[in-house]
Every structure is written in C-alpha cells, then in structure tokens.
Symmetry: C2
Subunit: 523 residues, 2 copies
C-alpha cells in the first residue's frame, strides 16, 4: 500500500488530458496539487517511555516493534480523502509512536496488558483502509498501532458446516486464495478488497459488492474471540441462539474500541463455477429502484445488484477507466451479476431478467457488466489522480427504508451541492444503490469538485451539512463505512444519548483504562 495514495504504486495512473480539461471547464479545477516526498513528512517526537517500550518488546520481541519514520508514516490515519490531503502535504501529526506486530492471541493480550499498565493507547490496525478516521485516536499522551499482519492464518475449515476460522490480519485476497484452494469463497468483495483485512471487515460491519448474493460481513460471522484489557470474550456457540442478547453484535462494529478481535469464524460458500455480469438500462433512477425493490422483496436476487443514478450513469463512474468517455449512457445503468454453479447461474439470470424486463428495463448485454467487473476496485486510484490535478473527490453513504429512499436521496444530494457551491466549488454529485434488503436500500454518493484554498475545511463543512440532513431525513450515518471519528458526533442522533451511555458502560467494563482507540466510535 502506497503511504500517501491508495493501493499498489504500480497501478497508479494519471488522468488523460481531455479529462483534465473537462474538470477545468466544468468544475473550475485549476492548480495541480502534488504530494510531498516521504522525506518531507513531519512526524511528532515519539512519546513512549522507555519502560513502556521495554514492555512492548517483552510482549512481542524486538524484531516486531518499530519506531522508524517510515513505519510510523505508513500507520498514520487511513484512506479517507481528508487523510490523503493531510499526508500529501506532509502532515503526520496523528502518527503512532510505535508500531507493534503481535503474532498470536496471547501476544495481543500481553500487548494490551503492557499498554494498560503504561497508559499507552492502542489502535488495532489491519489493512489501514478506514475512510472514517477510525485509525486516528484522540490525543492520549502516546499510542501504538497494533499491526495484525502476522496473524494471517486460515486456522480451521469445517467443510460440513461451511465454516472457516480466520485470523484478523489476513488480507482479503489471501483469505480468498486460501479458501479457493479448498473449494470455497467468502464472497466478500468491498471496494477496499485488495487491501482490507478480515478483522477490519468484522470491526466495521463491512458490506461488499456481492452482498445481494453472499450477505454482509456481519451476517457471515458466527464466532469470535476478542482480547480485551479485562479478559477474553469467546462468543458464538450455534448458528442462532436464544441464550440472551447477542454479544457478537456488540463486537461487530466496535471498531477496536472494546477489544482486539483475534479469531473470526465465518460462513463460507462453495466457490462459484461461473460468474456473469450484465448491464440493464432504466429510464429513471426511480424506475430502476422499483425494479430492485421487487427483486429484494420477492426475488430472485442476483449476486451483485447496483444501480447508478442519471448523473453517475452519464459520467460513466461505474467504469472508472472510461470516465467522461463518449460511450456514456442516458437513463440509469443497472449492473446485475450472477455467481454460482453454472446451471444455477443460468436459471437465476433468466429469473432476474424476467423481473427487470417487466419493470421497464432494457438489456444492454454483458459488456457493461464485464466493464464494471474489470474496474470494480479502480475508483480509489482514480481519486488519487483527481487529487493530483487539484480536484477533490470523496464518497459518503447511508441507508434507509424503501418508502424513505427518494426523500433521503434528494436531501443529501441537495446538501452536498449547496454546501460546496456556497464555498465556490460547485460539485458533481453522483449516486448509486449497491445494497438492497426487503425493507430498504443503501445510497452511495460520490462528490467531485475543485480543491479550494482549504480543501480539508471545505469538505469538513460539506460533510457536516450532509450528515445533518442525513440524520434529519431518517437515514443511518453509515451503511458500511463505519463511525470512526468522522461520524462519531452523529452517532448520538442515531442511537440517542442513552444508547451512547450503553456503549460507554460496555467500554468502561471492558477497557477501564480507556486505552483502546480512544475517541473512535463513542461520542
């Protein structure tokens, strides 16, 4: 992972000149904004005491404790656009003092003990792909990044129950590789897939592009082991249970604030024999959503189901390789994907096609689908290229019940547009629906505009405005990105002051010294 950009440095691309001109003409993007070199990054002085450092070395060994500048820079914040803007200008003020790499549950426990007794904060670090400020804790006088990359095993596979026990630091592509060797798939493919970790998926309630077929990550988890400063939680004894409240659901979404997940048992599926992705055109966003609702409520559901609004369809953002190209479409593009045994895929495709046709869709064939599949992880690279030329690009997302989707869509789009226009940076606002349920759907917005003189402040104001209307219009503050520090203040509106008090009571019990991700999640 590049330290100041998304992903693999070899995959970085620059924007074609016609796009740069288009950004110039339509959005007023003018001045390139290159990132500084790593040497120019300013790091705070490390602040851990010698005795704290010794305790960490005692826990994991000297070879697995890092205080060099590059290690600290590489564990600074996550990959939101604000994170990138800050690190690109050389600001590493949120860097950890030390990076620690435990190799086992017991070493995690020892690191937590060392940190609790020395009052050092701990940020669990998997793939480092947070886009909500989940890796930037409140100032505490010193903190470590607990990098879980050495905990990367497939521990056990129960083929009969279709359950895989995985360690948290396993990155998604490697987990998928280990499972495919045994004939299975996790079926979890969020846009962060190439760099995200299994532990992060659980801690943030991740949802992938194939959620219609395989479900959300939080729905796949059946068992977890969690190291907390107060001891170890072992949760999950059956697929479902009536043995009281489901405490797994407290750990899922806890974002490192309650403990460090050291083992996760998830439902897996047989690896598909066939994968087909196709495009459909709908006259309007509303017509496309009505079709999606029929599939979500009465079936059959494809494995992948997403619908771009008119703006996203026109700009071609479903295919970041061809943004603004001449083959952009009118109406709204729907992508449907089918994965499974070959015969089942054909049957599923026929069933879905009948519904989509009946709901007013026009088939566009495989080409738009295959193009979407080829570019499904490319958008974050495009963002880096946009930042380079002085444009700003960021995403935000929410979800609500079907009857409220039109209101929420209009409210968030209007808030984004009017906030940025009011700051002299009129944006493109694009939207898609990529996760559907019988009761409702997600809305995923992309915002592109010019970087003003203070792009960080510009977005903070806009994001606040969008979050306010999101809450007021009945949406959740996040469908799958999480809370982190960016959404923390809106969690009060989401679960109420008493809900927050419940989270605090749990935190106080599990983490009395409050060393775990302070300032993340809990207002």
């Amino acid at each position: 992972m590049h330290w100041s950009r998304w992903g693999d440095p070899d995959q970085a691309e620059s924007l074609p000149e016609p796009i740069v001109q288009l950004l110039h003409k339509t959005l007023g993007v003018r001045s390139p904004a290159p990132a500084v070199a790593m040497e120019a990054v300013e790091l705070p002085e490390p602040s851990l005491s010698a005795s704290a450092s010794e305790a960490l070395v005692a826990a994991v060994g000297a070879d697995h404790v890092f205080t060099d500048a590059e290690s600290r820079i590489r564990h600074t914040r996550g990959k939101s656009t604000l994170d990138l803007l800050r690190i690109r200008r050389g600001d590493a003020s949120d860097a950890p003092d030390t990076v620690v790499q435990p190799a086992s549950h017991d070493e995690v426990v020892q690191v937590l003990e060392a940190c609790a007794s020395h009052r050092v904060a701990v940020v669990p670090f998997g793939g480092g792909t947070s886009v909500v400020g989940g890796l930037a804790p409140a100032s505490y006088g010193g903190f470590i990044a607990m990098d879980l990359r050495r905990m990367d095993r497939l521990v056990e596979l129960d083929a009969e129950s279709r359950l895989a026990t995985l360690e948290p630091g396993l990155l998604a592509p490697r987990a998928e590789e280990l499972l495919r060797e045994r004939g299975f798939t996790l079926g979890h493919f969020p846009q962060s897939f190439e760099w995200a970790s299994i532990g992060g998926f659980a801690a943030t309630r991740s949802s992938g592009q194939a959620s219609a077929g395989y479900g959300r990550f939080d729905e796949m988890v059946v068992r977890m082991r969690v190291a907390t400063p107060a001891g170890t939680l072992r949760l999950g004894r059956a697929p479902r249970s009536a043995a009281g409240p489901d405490l797994r659901q407290l750990v899922l979404g806890s974002e490192g604030a309650f403990g460090v997940i050291t083992s996760i048992t998830v439902q897996v599926q047989p690896a598909p024999d066939a994968s087909v992705y196709e495009g459909w055109q709908f006259p309007t966003f509303g017509a496309g959503m009505a079709a999606m609702r029929r599939l979500a409520q009465d079936g059959p559901l494809p494995t992948v189901l997403r619908l771009s609004d008119e703006a996203e369809t026109a700009i071609g953002l479903t295919d970041p390789e061809h943004v603004g190209s001449a083959d952009s479409q009118s109406g709204c593009l729907l992508i449907a994907g089918y994965e499974g045994p070959t015969a089942a895929v054909a049957g599923q495709r026929d069933g879905v096609a009948a519904v989509l046709r009946d709901a007013g869709g026009e088939p566009l064939g495989d080409e738009p689908g295959e193009r979407w599949a080829a570019g499904r992880y490319a958008a974050p690279y495009l963002r880096d290229a946009l930042l380079d030329v002085g444009a700003f690009a960021e995403t935000l997302e929410t979800a609500t019940f079907w009857s409220n989707v039109p209101r929420l869509y209009a409210a968030v789009r209007d808030a984004l547009t009017s906030s940025l226009a009011g700051q002299g940076a009129p944006p493109l606002v694009l939207c898609h629906v990529s996760h559907v349920y019988p009761a409702g759907a997600s809305l995923y917005f992309t915002v592109i505009c010019a970087q003003g003189a203070d792009p960080v402040g510009q977005w903070q104001r806009t994001k606040s405005a969008a979050s306010e209307v999101m809450t007021a219009a009945g949406g959740t503050i996040s469908h799958h990105h999480g809370v982190g520090t960016d959404h923390r203040d809106w969690l009060i509106g989401e679960i109420g002051p008493l809900g927050v008090e419940v989270l605090r009571a749990i935190k106080d019990r599990l983490d009395p010294a409050r060393i775990l991700n302070p300032g993340v999640l809990i207002p």
Copy 2:
C-alpha cells in the same frame, strides 16, 4: 388461557384409555395427579406499601391495577412443566403482589418510575407463555406483573417497505389477523402462537415453525422503542447499518431485564395464496439431516422443514392427535411445507422434492403434512392430559453446527435417559430438527416418563444433567426458548464470565435500582 393448564379450557382433552394403559405398561405411569381447584391455591400476602400502590394507581388509573386473587394467580409464573406442576398443587408462592396494565409508552414509563422510587420489582408480562421461568423473579420484597394486554395495536403499516409497527401486548393471532386484513403476514408461528405476544417474541428471540421461510423473529425486527428506568431507547434507522454495534441485538433476548419494549417494527411478507404441507420418509435420522443440510446450504428451502428422529416418528408425536396410533411409521418422518403465491409454491415444491428424492427420501404425500399442520399447536394440550394421569412431559432444545449435531444429539439423549432411569422413571426421549441454517440446526427433545414422588426435583436433576452435557458437547443452552431463571446458570458457560459482566454493566446503566425482572437472564 387456563390458569393451571395450557390454552383454551374448551380445547382440553383427556387421554384415550389405551394410551393410559400404554403409559402404565411401558413407563410405569400409575397414579392420576389432578390439579387443585383455584380456591385451594395458596397465595402469599401482598406486600406492596400503600404509597407504592397509590403511585401505580396514579400511573395507570385504579381500573387497571389488580390485587384480587384470580388476577394474581393468572400472572404466576409461565407454562413450563415445572410451572404447571407447582400451580396444579396449589403453590402460587411466586405470584405478583399486583397486576398493572399500562396502555401506552408513557404509562409504562410512569409505572417504571413509580416502581424504581418504591423499590418494587417489575415483570413485563405479555402472553405468559414462558417455559424457562422468565416470569418468576428473585425475591425482591414485592413485585408487579406489568401486563401489556392493553397495548395491542397495529400502529403503522408501511406497505412499500413491508414494515409493520406493532405494540408489544398484541397476541400473535390478533397481529396476524390485523396484517391479513391488509394483505400481509408476519409468518411467525411458534407452538405458543395461540397465546404468545409480539413483545414476548422479541424479548425472548422466538423462532417459529415456518422459520425456514420467514426467518426467526429476531431477524424480522428492524426498529424498537424500549422504556427503561434510565430513559427511552429508540433503535433502528435502516435495514442494515455500520453505525457501530447493533444495540437492537441487546434488547432482543433481554427478557425484560433491560427495559420494556413498547413498540416493535417488523418486516412482514405478502400473505400466501397457497399453503401445502407434505410428508417424506427417510431411512435414518442421519439421512434426513443430510437432506436438510443440502436444502439449508444450497436451497431451495421450503417454508416449513422438520424431521423427527426414529423414536418421535414411531410414537407419532408429529401428530399429537394420533399418539401411539397404529399408523405410526418406521424410519424418520420429514415434514416440508410451502407457502406463497400459488405458482411459486408449485415451483418451490418441485425443487425441494428433487433434492429430497436424490437424498434418499420417499414421498408420503400430503396426508402426513396436513395432519402435522392440523395438530401443530396441540402438543401443550397433550402435556396437560399426560400430567393429569400421572405422567411427566417436558421439552428442551438446543442448536449447534452441522458437524457437531450427531455428538450433541447423542449426548443430550443419553443424559436424559440415564438421569431419569437412575431415578426410577425410565423415559421416552423423542427428538426433532425444526430450524435449519447454512451452518447448523436446532435439536428439540421431548421427554415423557412417570411422575415420581417428587416430579419437580426429578426434572430439576434431569434438566441439570442435560444442560451440563449440552454445554460440554458444544451446544447453546437454548435455540428459541430463552434463558429465564431455568437456564441462567448455564449462560456463564455460554458467554463466559466476562460476557456476563458485560450484561451486568448494561443492566447497571439502564436499571440501576435493579427492578426489572431481577434474577431472570443475568447470573
């Protein structure tokens, strides 16, 4: 509901004489054990102070506060066999001091305030059908039954999102009636259906006979309002969310120990046009389970799917009207039910039949299915008839992952058999699987034996033995009955001492005076 038996007194039946003879011969059932008359029931003196009583009257009005003997007896404990044995012999020592019937969320809040300030315990009471001691709190110096029957409205129906907002005191048949008038069904039909309440379904994580098609009750809930002594929780803003831990999952299964659920929004489905139930025969329990696993993992799933083991098939308990009759079958009886639009039911039935046939099943036609459907709520009436003649009958249930099902099945059956045989009451032990998931299944045991001199102690010893092996063999202490007081001590093994501490921390925050169902759920 009869005060000392299950259900509608008009539906009570006595056992045919040949069955009584069979019980005598095979199980040694000898002495009839009739229940006392209501006049003979011994009630403790009511212990609420005058000022507490006045506060309750101020909260809900004098017409809705009851202290008469019959009201108190009718709110004593639930409907486990131990509950029935105790009340049948006139023991109402666990009766509430007062029965209070609030009509709204605000009245619930006022009752909680009154009880907190007067240190009176509160047992939320819906249908009164608990079978795990969930309505018998620890001695506290005085407690009320908060009977929610006046909160019985369908508050709102969002047909587009297929969401119904219901009050907690609504009994299931009335909820179903209100929804059917509008074209919908909840699809939740546990054996307690005729008498259980919506609030109770949520508070205990109920699961119904059609869970394969409609899901468990806890999976249907999207929104809840909960009155607690510390304030009101309003939870659930979207079908799914990544806004932190899912606090709804703390309320689901909380069994009245954290608060009183005053509003529940649930996913509903279109009322089915067609319902078909059919029987299949499998040579062994293992072969039938392998077939169920295929359906659960790869589909298609019928709406109802249940499999009796050899003993339950032979005794005919799938059809309580014909227990022990000559038409009992060999092998294992599987019931599959299909509900939905007429065309979909036919397609679903064909798809399931292909899998069952391929897995070694022999179709038995509709007759066994229709017989099961006709008798689906009859078993608790049969239990009363068995108690009358001096037999003992009770059920218990668990769940585990597929790979562990054979071990758990054998361990629990052996524990039940050897414990009761060792006490001179060799039992019939029957079992069925009635809830399946991709990862595993439930096991539901029925035990029938002779009542010894101390049938309560006899069962307590046996239940302890079964619970011990259930935990040791990797099962959950309850798949859908809940924890109550009967399973409380085994919850420690299920979620660990630290998990229990988390529950206590939440309880302390929401209910600092510990007035809510003290002694229920939390060890």
